[in-house]
Every structure is written in C-alpha cells, then in structure tokens.
C-alpha cells in the first residue's frame, strides 16, 4: 500500500491544467464559506452561550439589507463560476479540425478502438503527444463511459448514437482508462490504458505489425459485398439517392422536414432505413440491423465520407448546392 496521498491525477492534456485551476478556485470558495459559517457558529455559540436558565434575549426581526447582501454576493459568485466553467466546456466541446480520428466501441466489458489507418486496439490506445485526437464513441450493448482522469476527459458511449470528444496529450506516458458508467458484472474490470508517445515513436508503432485494412478500404469492400452499390452509387441513381457529398449536408425527408446527415443519421439510415426516408424515394431499402457490427457501420460511414462529390445526379447536386451556400 502506498503511503503518500496524491491530491491530483497526472496532468497530461492541454485541458488538465485549466480544469485544475477552476477546481482549486471552487475549493477556495467552498473553504471560505464553510470556514466563515463555522467560525460564526462557534463564535455565536460561545459568546452568546446561555448563562442563566431564564435568559430572554432581545428581539431581532431580520434585515432586508442583509438578506439582499447574502443573496446577491452568492449570485454574483455563481455567475463567475458559470462563465468560467462554460468557457472550459466550450473548449472541450469544440473538436479541432486537424484532429486525428479514433473510433471507440464499448462492449461489455472491453474497449475496442480503431485508428483511421486501420490499426485496431483493445483496451489500449496509442496516441502521439501534442496532436489533437478526436474520439467518436458508441456502444454495442449498454451505456459505457470513456474516462481518462489524466486528461480530465469523459464521454458516454451510448448504443444507437455517436458521441464525440477530443484531447491533446501533453506528456508521454501511460495513463489509466476507466469505464465510468456502470455496465454490469465486470464494470470495474473494463479498464485499460492510454499510451502517449513521442511522434517518431508513434510512427514506429504504426509501422510495426502487419499492414492493417483501413476503415475506408473495409467500407468499400462492404459497400460492394452488401449490395449497397446496386442502388447508391454513380449513375445507377434510380432506387436510392447517390451518397457523394452527402455527409454533413441537409437532406429533405419524405413527408416534409429535413435532417442533417451527420454520423448518427448515416448510422440510422443504414441500420433502420425506414426511420428517415429521403424525399423523392420509396422506403424500399432493407434493414441491416443485426447484420452489421458497429465497426462495419463505422467503416461504411468512413467510405461514404471518402466519396468525392459527383455532378450529374440530382440528389448529390442538391446536397453540394446546399453546402456551397
């Protein structure tokens, strides 16, 4: 048993130091108020202790001024807390454009990760130091939560949708990865580690081992094998909308309304095509639920994203028009 008591986890991401500063500010406020209240209580309790059985202290009715003061001061303090913590939150919510993407799938009781180079890992994540890493998370079963204390970062992996978060590691080393959302019997064993490496070392790690199949390549293969290609590609155009330029665009839906074609939309359209049907098409696509795993779906989405925008098809033209506006 170690005898030292650390107060902070390792400080290994660009966010960590900012979160720590805010945390210390919050403790400072907590101590000032708690000790202030405690000192006042003890002082009053001693100074005005009952000296005779029949004491009758004088009347004090209250004071509007005091009530206002001790309502407004905490209110102002909470405004400071709100602005500061929301600023932190926005920094954590905005994924940098140059981030390298890693897909994360939670499954009882392991973490499955895939780099865009195709490298797969389980319960381990290798990342280069100083480079933003964009995590896109989902789950194959129940809700999990991807938590790296050294990065002050946590995000739920929720089945049926994609969540995203990011970090930039600042210190090479090995850090704990925990599942933070209770997920059943072996919840506390769903742990692993993040290895932060120097850039050269990371390149070496990528080069080692057999050449992996990238998600785009796997997606291309699935796109043909699963017959997506018969309705959704090139000039076949009749039965399904072409997918070139679709990701990120706004799609008009059958029966009115529209949706933004983000990853969650693409995933749903593959697994539950009847949920949102594109305007001008029939709901004829079969469901792929139960036939494709989360990694397959992620590969298909990566492939769809890699398609170059095409001219000559109504749907893709409409999509690219919208994007250029």
């Amino acid at each position: 048993m170690r005898s030292d008591i650390p107060l902070f986890p390792p400080n290994a991401s660009t966010m960590a130091v900012h979160v720590d500063h805010f945390y210390l500010f919050m403790w400072a406020v907590t101590f000032v108020f708690s000790i202030g209240i405690a000192v006042a209580l003890v002082y009053f309790a001693v100074a005005y202790r009952r000296r005779h059985r029949d004491e009758r202290p004088g009347e004090i009715h209250g004071s509007l001024l005091l009530e206002l003061v001790w309502s407004i001061i905490p209110l102002l303090l909470t405004v400071v807390m709100f602005v500061w913590s929301t600023w932190l939150f926005f920094a954590q919510a905005r994924v940098p454009d140059d981030a390298i993407r890693v897909n994360v799938v939670g499954k009882r009781w392991m973490w499955k990760l895939q780099h865009m180079t195709g490298h797969r890992e389980i319960n381990e994540l290798h990342v280069p130091v100083g480079k933003p890493v964009h995590l896109v998370l989902t789950s194959e079963d129940v809700i999990h939560s991807f938590f790296v204390p050294a990065f002050r970062m946590k995000k739920d992996a929720v089945p049926g949708r994609y969540n995203e978060t990011w970090f930039t590691a600042t210190q090479p080393g090995r850090y704990h990865l925990f599942c933070a959302e209770y997920c059943g019997t072996e919840h506390s064993r769903m742990i692993g580690s993040v290895h932060v490496m120097e850039s050269a070392e990371f390149q070496q790690w990528l080069a080692g081992g057999p050449a992996p199949v990238s998600p785009v390549a796997l997606g291309r293969k699935l796109f043909t094998e699963r017959m997506c290609v018969t309705c959704h590609y090139g000039d076949s155009g009749a039965r399904g909308p072409a997918l070139n330029g679709l990701p990120g665009s706004k799609v008009a839906l059958l029966g009115g309304g529209s949706a933004v074609a983000d990853d969650t939309y693409l995933r749903e359209s593959i697994l539950t095509p009847a949920a949102k049907v594109v305007a001008g098409y029939q709901p004829v696509m079969p469901t792929y639920a139960g036939q494709l795993g989360e990694e397959d779906v992620a590969a298909l989405i990566a492939f769809i994203k890699s398609l170059p925008p095409l001219a000559g098809d109504a749907a893709s033209r409409k999509a690219s028009d919208l994007r250029s506006n």
Binding site: A38, S85, K154
Partner: protein, 549 residues
Amino acid sequence: MATTVTTPITQERMPKEHYLNADYGVRSWLLTIDHKRIAILYLVSISIMFALGGIYATAIRLELLTPAGDLFTSENYNKMFTAHGVIMVFFFLIPAVPATLGNFLIPLMLGAKDLAFPRINLLSWYLYIVGGLITLAALFLGGLDTGWTFYTPYSTAFSNSNVILAGLGIFVAGFSSILTGFNFIVTIHKMRAPGMTWFRMPLFVWAHYATSLIQILGTPVVAVTILLVAVERAFDFGFFDPARGGDPILFQHLFWFYSHPAVYIMILPSMGVISELVTCFSRKKVFGYSFIAMSSLAIAVISFLVWAHHMFVTGLSVYAAMIFSALSFLVAIPSAIKVFNWTATLFRGSVSWQTPMLYAFGFIGLFTIGGLTGLFLASVGLDIHVTDTYFIVAHFHYVMVGGVIMGYLGGLHFWWPKITGRLYPEWWARVSAVLVFVGFNLTFFPQFILGYLGMPRRYHYYVEEFQVLNVLSSAGASVLAVGYVIPLFYLGWSMRYGKIAAPNPWPATGLEWQTPSPPPTENFPVTPEVTEEVYDYPNLRLPKETVLV
C-alpha cells in the same frame, strides 16, 4: 467552559391517559388511524430499513479496504451497492422525516386533531410496507444489480436480476409518498387552528408544504418511468432500448426529472427541523422568517428545472447543457439564504448546547459543504471530469446523509420527550452526536479526493493508488457506525427508564408543546387559539403546571 446547560424540565408523573396507552394490543396499532401512532409505525419501519441499508454499507466499505475484489464476487458486490442505494433512498431517506416527525407533528403544530384524511394516512403506511416487502423480496431472492438508478438499456435488456419485482415495490411505495404529500397539503390548507395564519406557521410546516408539492408532482413521473422499464422488459416494447427503436437517454431524462427533486424531498423536511432547533436553543425569533419560508418554495420550483445536470457527458447538446448549468447554480441561492439566516439567528441569542443543537450545528456544517460541492457539478467544464466518480458519491452523501440524517436525528432527540413522554440521557446523546459528525467527515471527505483522482463509482476492483484513501474512508465508517448504533440503545433504554418529561421540557414555542407529553389521542383537550406570532421566544413563559428540577 462556564456555560450553563439548562436541564430539561421534568415532572413527577406521566399524564394518566395518552395516545400510547389509550389502547393496547397489536390490533390497536395495526388498525390505528391516529397520526401519532402511524408515525411510530413508520419510525419502527424506517429504522429497520436504515439498519438493513447500513449492513450493506458496512459490507461495501469492508470490500473496498483492498484494491482487489476479494471478499465478494463482482456480481454480489453490484447487488450490494444496488440494495444499499434502493433501500436508503426509497425506503429510508424519502420517508425519514416527513413520515415520522412530519406525521407526528404537523397536526400538533397546526392545532388540529389529526391529518385531514386519517384513513388515507394509514393506507400510506400499508403501501410503504407492501412496497417495501416486495422490494426486499426482490433483493433477497436473487437480488438486483442495476444500481438504484435503473439505467437503460442495462436494466431492460441486459440485467439478469429481479428488475420487475424491485420496480414494482418502488412503484407501490411511490403511492405512499404521493398520498402522504396530498394529506399534508390538504391538512395545511384546511385544518389550521383559529389564529394560525400562513405566516404564523412554524417553518417545519412550510418545509413540509414545499416537500409535499414535489411529492405529488414528481413521484408519478418516476412511477410511470419504472412502469415503462417493466413493460419494456416483460413485453419487448421499445421505449429505451435502441435495438428495439427506443432511446436510452430518454430514460435518464424521465428518471432525473423526479430523482433530482427527490433530493429536495429528502432535504427540505430536515431544513424545517433545523429552523425549529436553532430558534429553540438560541431563544430567538428566527432571522428572516419569510425568506426561509419562501426559499423552501423556491427550491421546490427550481428543483424541477435542473435535472439534466446529471447528464452532461451523455451527449446532451451544448446549449441544453448551458441552460441546465445556469439553472443548477440558481438553486444554490435559496439554500444559501437558509444557511445565512440560521447562523444569524444565533446572534445575540441565548445559546444552549444540548444534543439537538449539536445536530443542528452538524447539519449546517455538512450541508454547507454538501451544497457548495454541488456547485462543482453544476459547472459543466468540471462536471465532465468528476461525474460518475467518488466525488459524486461524497457530494450526495454530504447532502443526503450529512444533511438529512443530522436533521432527522436532531429532530428525533428534540421531540423525543413529546413522542415518548421521557427524556433521553444527555451525555450519551452528545457522545453519539459528536461521533456521527466526526465519523461522517472521516468517511466521506476522502471520497472527494478519490473522485478527483479518477476513481469511478460502483467499482468493485480499483487501482492500487486509490487504496490509502479507501482505507481512511472505511476507518471513518466504523466510527460513524458506532455513532449510529449508540442511540438505538439509549433511546430504547429511555422509553422505560428516562426521566419523565414536562409538556414543554426545553422550553419551546409552538402548539405541540402546549399539550401534555405524550399528547392525548385527540391532541388538544380544547382546540387552541393562536394569538402570538411564531417563535415568540422573547415572551416565552414557562408553563405553570411544570415542576422545575
């Protein structure tokens, strides 16, 4: 210390007839419609539940002494923390103060003979018992491993434990809570004695009024939510399971829509107790009566608008998170107002350090830390790191144990002479109050640090560097346990051997002190008329019929 502790006023003999000896036999208790006897039924029932929940807590703290999960299997460990949470939240904390002290005192404080619907009051107790037995059956016969939060899709599609049965028990007990709230609201509106205007009501009553509003508005939502979980599990409906077209996050919205206000169902009645204690033991009018009363209502209203602060890492939209963060900060203000007013009440008072006041001091201290650490969680940017860790566990134990139980024990000691007609032994009571306070801090303060270090909650195994703090926490828990066990003995002892209490032993204002201890079944021989302002301590007179010792 040259402080004069006033001895509570005693008398030579008990009143000849009172609610406790008005009738004898098991039947006279199980079929009683006297709110005071029903309060006793609840007192016994929740004490048993508290002891059960405490046994589970002991087992959890023992397991966490070492990083390896070596005492129990993971499956059993998960069932134990689930049982601890379910029992403590639904069957102890929620009914703790309202069903016992509230039931006993609200009619007395208002000058009424009983609650508005005495039979419904008894029905509430039976619903609590039936719900409790169903849930206990689920916990003992196979167990439940979902955590007290029943998160989907784990609870609906993956758990192999007794989800439906346990949920059914909670569903039934929920109606007990709804009916009690309904009964209190009607009683407070319609049964006040002549002269008992709204702003002459003790703050204890105001706090229960606010609590009752939350109970009747919030509890039906959690009842329906649990029903949906059961239906999805039993009949394969797709409400929450994405594999069946549902949305697992929808469950969290519905669950926390009730379960966040439920925190205030637990804490508001205790706040009401503290207002009574602070005034009596400083012999002062409460500072800022209307601010304390209205802050209870403000808490009840705002508490319904903050639920999503439990969900900042689920993928909630950035703007929704901002709004819920701002509203969560706002709920801190009425709580702060209460703390400042209680403290100011002591100013230039005549402060006596008897056991109930020690508990009130403890409450104010622990609730202040519990409340302020809540602000850490309203701060989205920081909540991301600490949510689902031991920081959360520490925070809600400061509020729900540090706050609720300190208030409950303080109130129980304060009104013990009224309930039983006898005094508890002061020395022992002080020892246990100090042990509870010290043990509590030793148990839960290390958990704030553990949480920031990154130890997730509900972890059976943990990494080695968290051990020292876990050992500290378990050591503190053993002190806390001793503090909780001692009152069981001396309160039990006092029921037979304690000194006989005068009608108004402290003495205190309030109608409940103007009737004999213990009160007669009909509460007041003659309906009292209220002519004084509330907490009129400056003009407090010692009742004539008392014998001073």
